[in-house]
Amino acid sequence: MADKMGFGAKFFYKYRRFIKAIQLYLLIAGPGIIVMVADNDAGGITTYAATGAKFGYGLIWFLVLLGPIAYIVQEMTVRLGAVTKRGHAEAIFDAFGSFWGWFSLLDLTLANWLTLITEFIGMTAAMAIFGIPPYITIIIVSIVMFAMVLQGRYWTWEKIAMLFCLLNFIYIPAAFLVHPSVSKVLGGMIPNLPGGLTGELLFFLMANIGTTIAPWMVFFQQSAVVDKEMREKDITWARIDTAVGSFFTVLVAIFCIIVTGTLLRGINIESAAQAAQMLMGINPYVGTFLAIGLFNAGFLGAICISLASSWAFGEVFGWAHSLNNKIREAPWFYISYLLALLTAGAVVLIPGAPLVLITLFVQVIAVTLLPATLVFLILLLNNEEVMGKYKNTLAQNILSCAIVGALIILSTLYSISILFPGLFG
């Protein structure tokens, strides 16, 4: 009897500990999941849709590989934010001086603003499938996005953003609706180069890498960690949050590839909206899901990117820059946020605006900032004065340096291949 009681008490204790752990995780979860899911933005969904249509399930293994890579980079921003209590822009100014500080801030502003335009392009294209004119989409989206930050609490903003993250899973039911061959999907998990190592394959591999790590993600997550007032003791939970986020981002990408890889195999896709429109003719439900997913991807990307810029400006110019501030307390923070939204939305509405050129230019601009951002990240993480016992270990350094080196080389090649199409065959 005593034994039985002991087992029951032990079980209850473990159960309570588990529930407590879940509760604690739910309190700390947010920045990691949001940044990773928002990484599947309008540009990302377009890349996955095009990859699936071109190579079927053949490159699923590559996306699985990209998950841990994204985690390793973002985990460093978590540690840096939690230990220094500073955003990435401020950390660069402080550690490397004003030259690199201004370079990073101005490049980030330009890259983010151009990316914001591409998010609006994605959202308006997705809503156009349902007959909603672009100006209505832009007005409503801007109002909703501004209202989200105006309520004056980081916590509320984060939970609303996480609700939108849930909508990103719409690709999962869409994939089940197309009845893919499970054995072929599993076959895609095994590393292979469909059609051999051609220039086209290389381009798609580089494009997928380009969508996995973007400079805004580093700035966003570090600032979010600071705004959430995370401390060193929260690092373990924030790591779990980032790992869960990177798992979700890969999961969504895989299901998106399954959809287009099943129904649009062998077709050259130029945008996710085009894929959604084509799918409408084959299976209206799947087409609708893809369009909703594209809109949501653009929306999530837009809220994170515009916030990343405003946070960075606030840090450097010394403005109040927390989502916990009311508009009266942090007017410049909110004005810069609104200005970014309105101007990016307005560009999409300009008749004959070079939107395709902007979409391509984003990659080129991002690649001027990515190496600097990642190199600064590693240098800061190796600074004992800044990081103390949380500095990178030798193993972390080997891994992160290899990843950052590969990211820089491949994203640069991708950017050059955009500038000079046909260079790689």
Partner: protein, 69 residues
């Protein structure tokens, strides 16, 4: 009626105020706080070279676009 001189003076003051914020930031972050070890020095040098090469590639592309028109 505001004279041209007054307008210029007002504009000057506006820009001086704006630039004073930037000068203040430049002053605050004039000296990099990170310890300039050999690794940091080399990394920053390589970054500079990388950016210069990238800018040259962009300039070359720009010349190609202008020439093709």
């Amino acid at each position: 009626m505001v004279s041209m001189k007054e307008l210029v003076a007002k504009a000057k003051m506006f820009f001086t105020k704006r630039f004073s914020v930037i000068s203040e930031i430049n002053r605050k972050y004039a000296r990099p706080r990170i310890k300039m070890t050999r690794m940091v020095r080399w990394s920053l040098l390589l970054l500079r070279l990388y950016l210069i090469i990238l800018l040259l590639i962009l300039a070359y592309k720009f010349i190609l676009i202008v020439q093709s028109r």
